[in-house]
Symmetry: C2
Subunit: 303 residues, 2 copies
């Protein structure tokens, strides 16, 4: 199944109580593409980088079978950079610095050979750019969108316009409350689903995720990890695993959506175990299946 | 199965964004006993009240089959009172007033006919009193203990002494972090289980609960409710439902413990739907079974 991923590629400077990781490969589309690459052999990536984006990063993506021809490289430009610091409890972080660099003028161009992709995953970028991407796509089967509080506060109308064309919307609990204006997540979900996306996933970090469909609610646990080294990219990694499982499923129904949420959760649980994309770049299918089984065990009730 | 419940009986003045509920029957043992009464016909209650504790409250408890002979009534005394205010998101509350009244001199005396109880549930009271209760009991099968941050901070050594004699310990996530000194719940659980209780439940409010045993971890979701009117007593109600299911189970193993966590969660989800014990006092077994099934559906994955 062909998957088009559009989002940011970045270098992150990450500080945590367990150590620092400067110049770390990051960005929403990087995490999504790496995560989904374990489930699909046709992942097409669109983003923008500067000439400082080394060949080793392209090689990493290519090793995972990701098509990088859609990544624009801006000569003499610098790649988007983000610097952040996590606190002791890992639930809060401060952004220390953001340098948009080449990302400031990003105008996503979808190469001709990418336009027949069946699944479209729009990582967290300006909703106007997300809309521009959708305008270039031929009749996709499924559109998945991620966003963040920055766009909910800054471009709510543009975001709502984009949401009308989205099938599956992924956001976190505080973003859901912000977008809906309601502190109750069940009410929030109803209000947000009325904006367009029939399928909604509300991520709750260390507390798991909720899936809302026409048929009800699914509550996925988070994996109770002993050590979380770096939460950066966990949300994008979730989206990649979720999308990846759906792409290989025979049909998209509640049963497969629930499994997809657990696969997304499994991938995210790997992501946080090392800095940046390090763990995500070095997984195998057996490990992923084992972790998925652990998620099943976590909420299993015998009849 | 005989169950002894020891804890507070109180009148609460509750303020929420949805309204106020003054002079509301409350207290840890009230919630525990009412909740567990749907599962067992031999619930024995020990606590203390003043002469202001009206006959209608005794009648309510008796209607549910609860033995109230162990409730000490202090002539001319006043029942324990608590006043609190919940905020808009219902996750935080301020204690406005606490009047210990007759509870200040509570010295739990377990009536002779109560002492052969098989299950002992020690609600949130001074750990020294909890220990005093255990000293009066003949060889119980199972001791369940609840506590709160007030005792963790104020009487940590006494609490740890008591914990050595406890089989199942129930506390919430912030209390677990406080008692263990570790922000990670998995590590917290290991540290706390080493203090005595082989079975540990960490409640996470609207995010469900985690059960830790020798055989692994179970993650129970919380029921995603549209409206939460009053969280008062939800934790005690959880303990009551949990205990109740165990009391009727043929044996205590991981499978029954997991189901018990869901029954506890189901009871707690009812509790918060109305003020105080109002909902808890008016349930039937069919409703409880329906809610339990809803909890199963919430995390069900088809093979």
């Amino acid at each position: 199944m062909s998957i088009l991923v559009v989002g940011s590629l970045a270098f992150d400077d990450i500080e945590t109580p367990f150590g620092n990781s400067p110049d770390t490969l990051g960005g929403s589309s990087t995490y999504i593409a790496l995560s989904t690459s374990y489930f699909s052999d046709d992942v097409r990536l669109v983003g923008v980088v500067g000439s400082d984006f080394g060949d080793e990063h392209f090689q990493l993506l290519k090793t995972k079978g990701i098509d990088t021809n859609g990544i624009q490289v801006i000569d003499n430009g610098k790649t988007f950079r983000w610097a952040g610091r996590y606190h002791y409890d890992m639930n809060t972080r401060d952004t220390l610095d953001t340098q948009l660099n080449v990302f400031a003028d990003f105008d996503p161009h979808i190469p001709q050979q990418y336009r027949d992709a069946r699944f479209i995953c729009l990582g967290n970028i300006d909703p106007e750019l997300q809309l521009k991407v959708l305008d270039q796509i031929e009749n996709p089967e499924l559109v998945i969108l991620d966003t963040m509080n920055f766009w909910i506060e800054g471009k709510p109308e543009e975001l709502k316009e984009t949401l009308k064309r989205v099938d599956i919307f992924i956001l976190n609990d505080s973003e859901a409350r912000l977008l809906s204006g309601d502190p109750n997540l069940v009410k929030s979900a109803r209000l947000i689903r009325a904006m367009g996306p029939k399928i909604l996933i509300i991520k709750k970090g260390e507390h798991g995720a909720l899936l809302f469909t026409d048929n009800g609610i699914f509550a996925a646990p988070a994996f109770p990890l002993e050590s979380i080294y770096d939460p950066t990219g966990a949300g994008d990694t979730f989206a990649g695993g979720f999308l990846g499982h759906l792409a290989r499923a025979e049909e998209i129904n509640d049963s497969e959506l629930r499994k997809a949420v657990l696969y997304g959760s499994a991938m995210a649980s790997f992501c946080v175990e090392k800095f940046g994309t390090e763990k995500l770049a070095n997984l195998d299918l057996l490990e992923i299946e084992d972790r998925y089984q652990s998620f099943l065990d976590l909420s299993r009730i015998e009849a």
